[in-house]
Amino acid sequence: MGMTMSQKILAAHAGLDKVVPGQLIEADLDLVLGNDITTPVAVKEFKKAGLDKVFDRKKIAIVPDHFTPNKDIKAAEQCKYIREFARDMDIENYFEVGEMGIEHCLIPEKGLAVPGDLIIGADSHTCTYGALGAFSTGVGSTDMAAGMATGKAWFKVPSAIKFVLKNKPQEWVSGKDIILHIIGMISVDGALYRSMEFMGDGLAYLTMDDRFTMANMAIEAGAKNGIFMVDDITLEYVKEHSSKEYKVYEPDSDAEYDEVYEIDLSKIEPTVAFPHLPDNTRTIDNVGDIEIDQVVIGSCTNGRLGDLRVAAKILKGRKVKKGVRVIVFPGTQNIYLQALKEGIIADFIEAGAVVSTPTCGPCLGGHMGVLAKGERAVSTTNRNFVGRMGHPESEIYLASPAVAAASAITGKITDPRKV
């Protein structure tokens, strides 16, 4: 029996010729990542154990993005704690406000994730880098601490589900609609403990931004990782962003998959996930009349340049519906700057949206757009759990940047083809 892409990367990093699902292995890490919420806990553990050295100062990345620019005194103290740790350990990839971005937009942009890498991050959406053909997965703070000290982590080798993507998506249908469709189909625990592996001719129609969005939400189906087959589009991105050595892994022809799904991309409609789970999906024509108070465009799911371009295309020259608050938060400084140069930021502001500095802010109900009791938001983020963006009785509808922008104009959830 052959191996899947994910299994091959794990085997290579464990120094083994072969691994099988369920096997417990210890593997070498190419990158260990943390943010301002998870790193303080990791550093505390690290110090408690009397550790005083990291395994490799170049293979650790710390990105304070959740409550930054510091939202209150406690958050400021947490950031100070990790800033000092990064300085003491001489961590090369510590990104301060000013060069910082949302971690999962920033890491690929900085060229820190490449095909064939094995990456852990103390953030569940670390699975995003699977878009580049890396095995990349979220862990907790203790794993981060152990990873920083030893350069290793333990893994249980996952089995996998294969998604064969076919044909070209319709206009205004993006990676977000595809992944919401898939999560709706297999449910929030449909891929629990397993890899989601994406391949097929349809990949040719998916930009890197689409793929980042899809890999990002693999965790929302419970998956350990989501991973895309590497093609020319991937390699072009890698060439542009990284000088790191990379290795392309393809599944063996006799690789065993638990399940195989064929997805006809041309049949996918703009899709919305209703409260309070990402698998509670409906196609746009079944949404009905849902009035909204807030629109959030951004995050590690949809805060990339391609996402902002789509939203701006719809909002340009139009006005946000009176009474609706539209908050745009680009993923990184670089994306922000590019958007500024292209005139996209002006389009947003002229339409009546506000544009924030890169931060996780509203996505986790942290700051910069927290919802009140009974309020509803359309959001391009990845989670619509109870209380995720604020009051436990607020509601979040997950959608693509196109649906979010169209909804901003009408004040209710709207098909981008109808504005």
Binding site: I37, A146, D189, V386, R388
Partner: protein, 165 residues
Amino acid sequence: MKAKGRVFRYNDNVDTDVIIPARYLNTSDPKELAKHCMEDIDKDFAQNVKAGDIIVAGKNFGCGSSREHAPLAIKASSVSCVIASTFARIFYRNSINIGLPILECDEAVQGSEAGDELEVDFDTGIIRNLTKGTTFKAQPFPEFMKKIMASDGLINYIKNKNQSG
């Protein structure tokens, strides 16, 4: 190792955002976190929970964010064990790594109600519902995880390993 306590019963897909809402994540002090544990789905949990009590829940417990604050908050609430039909992967990992005992056993979940008294033996995986007089069997931890738990978490496990070799 054994645990004994009253059941707090929850449904499927209890996510880390309700176990400990992000608005409280500007601290990582377990005692502070425990004050807000479960508050978005069970306002009175922090007040009512007693040392040794057991959380029993359905599928995919702990889904969502990787915040270790979630098992930390539960552990600091002096919960002795979480039993669920299945756990989300990162939550499972984090619980092992910080030394919060958790067991997967769908039958025990189906056979327990809020307030029941349970007794759990981690070495054998035997779960007894003392109120109903029923017995269930979960998979005990694999050897490797037992070692981590016995060292009281992954960090100590690594420290011990470094010292001995």
